[in-house]
């Protein structure tokens, strides 16, 4: 089932932290990794992220499941940049016909892949420990985003899993009517498009009904809303932010000291 619910133990320290603090910390670490053009900075950041996994309360299985595709993407980035680099300088490590792997492109490719890894891992750790409802609460209360937009998106998010079930229902109903793609690719594509259209029409109709039900409970009243649950920055949340900043600075400092550091956009 399609779901964005948190997969962590909700009593873990990072799971309990303020959503804004987590998003900001993840953004800080990712930005550092993306701006650094070397391989050591993202590697150090990745090590730091690995070190905090025990504090997130996420079990290894669900974590691996969520990271799988993102890491695969990072691996692809590495491979593509290594194989299709314009200048294959450095020592040639492997040469098989048109396939050539040289050391410099390999290092650059690995650096690029590692940066994707850091951004993906930081994002997954942040969202896997955050309940969307808490994030929406924090956004409206701390960052003063529009409740109409934020809570509206949250309600829409809750309806997402229904789409999968609806898709199966439509497909079944159509088979019962004698409508099926079979082996013909053109017919399959047309059927896919029309099923998608039906799904969208249904989703819009449901969204309209939901909006009406929300307004009936006063969502569109002009009174400023109160909050059943207060979201604010506590000492632990400031600590998380400070730690993220410290780790980012330390990674860059170490890389500079080691002599590998370079900024992504070199002048």
């Amino acid at each position: 089932m399609l779901t964005l619910a948190p997969v962590s133990d909700e009593r873990a320290p990072i799971a309990r932290a303020n959503p804004i603090a987590k998003v900001a910390a993840a953004a800080l670490v990712s930005t550092t990794a993306l701006l650094a053009g070397d391989w050591l900075t993202p590697l150090l950041l990745l090590a730091a992220l690995a070190a905090i996994v025990p504090f997130t309360g996420i079990r290894p299985g669900p974590l691996a499941h969520r990271l799988k595709w993102l890491w695969l993407a990072a691996g692809t980035v590495t491979a593509v940049n290594t194989l299709f680099a314009a200048e294959k300088t450095g020592t040639t490590l492997l040469s098989a016909g048109p396939l050539q792997i040289a050391s410099d492109p390999l290092i650059d490719g690995a650096a690029l892949g590692l940066r994707v890894c850091v951004a993906a891992t930081a994002g997954v750790l942040g969202f896997a420990t955050t309940d969307p409802t808490d994030l929406a609460d924090a956004l409206t209360q701390q960052l003063r985003t529009s409740p109409r937009f934020t809570i509206g998106s949250l309600a829409a998010l809750r309806m997402l899993p229904l789409l999968g079930a609806e898709w199966r229902q439509i497909t079944t109903a159509r088979r019962a009517r004698g409508m099926e793609g079979g082996r013909n690719p053109i017919r399959r594509a047309r059927l896919f498009a029309s099923t998608m259209f039906t799904l969208l029409v249904g989703a819009l109709r449901r969204a309209g009904r939901l909006a009406m039900a929300m307004d009936a409970r006063g969502f569109d009243s002009a009174v400023p809303r109160t909050h059943a649950r207060t979201q604010r920055m506590r000492r632990a949340d400031w600590l998380i932010l400070a730690a993220a900043a410290a780790v980012s600075i330390a990674a860059v400092a170490l890389s500079v000291a080691y002599g590998t550091f370079k900024v992504l956009v070199s002048t």
């Binding site: 619910a5 309940d131 969307p132 409802t133 809570i151 949250l154 309600a155 809750r158 899993p161 229904l162 229902q169 439509i170 079944t172 109903a173 159509r174 088979r175 019962a176 009517r177 004698g178 409508m179 099926e180 079979g182 029309s194 039906t198 249904g202 449901r206 009904r209 939901l210 009406m212 039900a213 929300m214 307004d215 009936a216 409970r217 006063g218 969502f219 009243s221 009174v223 400023p224 809303r225 109160t226 909050h227 059943a228 649950r229 207060t230």
Partner: protein, 480 residues
């Protein structure tokens, strides 16, 4: 408590020529509990939406006035709570407690008062789960009770219930009515309910208002008086008037076997136990087999497997003259063997007109043009759809759409018809039409299997009844 008054009220939806309601004059005193009746299309839901302040000026044009305690209803919507039919599109939040709190946050209730009021409202409807219980894990009936708690927590002076049990199975519906009963006893709020199944809610109301086709009240008074005087005409309009007799349309005997299920088993991915396990059935020409059982007993799964619409994890369904099991037949061939009709007609319509809808399956099956035309004309006449031949299926009324879905399932002349909850949410008139239609189809030699919660439907039609329980056959009852 609050008084309600419509004076010369009218409403026309944007883009429609005819008004949904016009010239409505109606007064309801504070604390009254009113049942609003009327044929479908008489504008009952429009009146409730007007009271809830949900008719915005950009969605249509209004005339006359709607007053709550003498002032414009749109200005007092905070005092009105409304419960709709569809449980799925009423819940906003992922956690049950948050959902009830949502309406209180909107009302700017101080934070420290929110949770006590949430608990109080959940207790009033008898909600059995903790505050953090996920809303998607609730059954339809439970979701509807949670939505009711969301309405009650706001302490409305006027409670509106728009067919609150129409989309829920009988057990769930009874639990909802129990919640309504309990919570109404604790409040002095004025209440207006729209409901076809009158007998079930008689004890909740003290006044009945029946609307005519244009929304004007045609009968008004205490329930006994209204039903004694207007019972007959109300029944003709589709109201389930208490005490109306159930017809007897049992069949005249069964012929040879037309559809056979052997050891049917289905386990859904990730499920702890099979939805269906080792079920056998044999459906014969000219009989109606009713498949009954509580929620989650595997009825709908059996219907899908019987119709060849899903691959069973074990066992097979077959028809005589076909070597392959049904789920392996191409769709265009399947429709010439078995016709399936689902509860929700919406997804079953695949073309733009009633006529092409009926021609669809025969065409896919490769019939010749003259044969298709003859078949379509025959069905249009038999199911009284001829007047609607060029209409768009999605614009049909509930009863018409149901007739069309049955007709299109029969179009390619299958010997077997499968019905999943055919009478769900239908008014009394459509119900009567469906009983007659199904009986006629069966008596002309089609084997019919109907999955149903509806005791009256089974009593009127079933020759045999297969009772399922937890995915297995509990018992089979012969009724001839």
């Amino acid at each position: 408590m609050i008084s309600v008054e419509f004076s010369d009220f009218g409403w026309r939806h944007a883009g429609r020529r005819a008004p949904a309601v016009s010239g409505v004059d109606l007064r309801i005193e504070p604390g009254e509990r009113v049942l609003l009746l009327g044929p479908s299309g008489s504008g009952k839901s429009t009146l409730l939406a007007a009271l809830a302040g949900l008719l915005s000026t950009d969605s249509g044009e209004s005339s006359g006035r709607v007053l709550l305690d003498g002032t414009d209803a749109a200005a007092r919507r905070g005092r009105v709570g409304i419960l709709f039919q569809d449980p799925e599109t009423q819940l906003v939040m992922a956690r049950s407690g948050d959902d009830v709190a949502f309406g209180l946050e909107n009302q700017a209730v101080p934070a420290e008062e929110i949770w006590p009021r949430v608990r109080e409202a959940l207790a009033a409807v008898g909600f059995p789960y903790p505050l953090s219980h996920p809303t998607h894990a609730l059954s339809g009936g439970e979701q509807q009770r949670l939505a009711l708690a969301g309405v009650l927590a706001r302490r409305p002076d006027l409670i509106l219930l728009d067919e609150p049990t129409a989309n829920v199975d009988p057990e769930g519906a009874e639990a909802i009515r129990e919640s309504i009963r309990k919570s109404l006893a604790e409040t002095s709020a004025t209440m207006i309910v729209v409901e076809h199944r009158v007998a079930d809610i008689l004890d909740l109301i003290d006044r009945v208002v029946a609307l005519g086709p244009g929304g004007e009240p045609v009968a008004d008074g205490p329930p006994e008086a209204v039903f004694a005087e207007h019972g007959r005409s109300l029944a003709e309009q589709g109201v389930w008037v208490p005490g109306a007799p159930v017809p007897d349309r049992r069949g005249g005997g069964a012929g040879p076997s037309r559809l056979r299920g052997e050891q049917l088993t289905q386990t859904y991915p990730g499920a702890a136990r099979p939805a269906l396990s080792g079920v056998d059935f044999d459906l014969r020409e000219g009989e109606l087999l009713a498949v009954t059982g509580p929620n989650g007993s595997g009825k709908s799964t059996l219907c899908l497997l019987a119709g060849g619409l899903m691959k069973p994890t074990g066992g097979r369904t077959s028809v005589p003259g076909e070597a392959r099991p049904l789920h392996r037949l191409p769709a265009r061939r399947l429709t010439t063997r078995v016709g399936s009709v689902f509860q929700d007609t919406e997804h079953q319509f695949v073309t733009g007109t009633v006529r092409s809808e009926l021609a669809f399956a025969p065409k896919a099956a490769g019939w010749a043009r003259p044969r298709i035309d003859a078949r379509v004309d025959e069905l249009l006449e038999r199911l009284r759809l001829d007047r609607l031949a060029e209409a768009n299926p999605h614009t049909l009324s509930g009863g018409e759409a149901r007739r069309l879905s049955v007709a299109s399932a029969l179009a390619a002349a299958p010997g077997v018809l499968l019905l999943d909850e055919p009478t769900f949410g239908q008014d009394r008139r459509t119900w009567g039409e469906l009983v007659d239609l199904t009986a006629n189809i069966r008596d002309e030699g089609t084997a019919v299997l109907a999955v149903t919660h509806d005791r009256d439907f089974a009593a009127a039609l079933a020759d045999r009844e297969l009772v399922l329980r937890r995915g297995e056959v509990d018992r089979e009852v012969g009724r001839c």
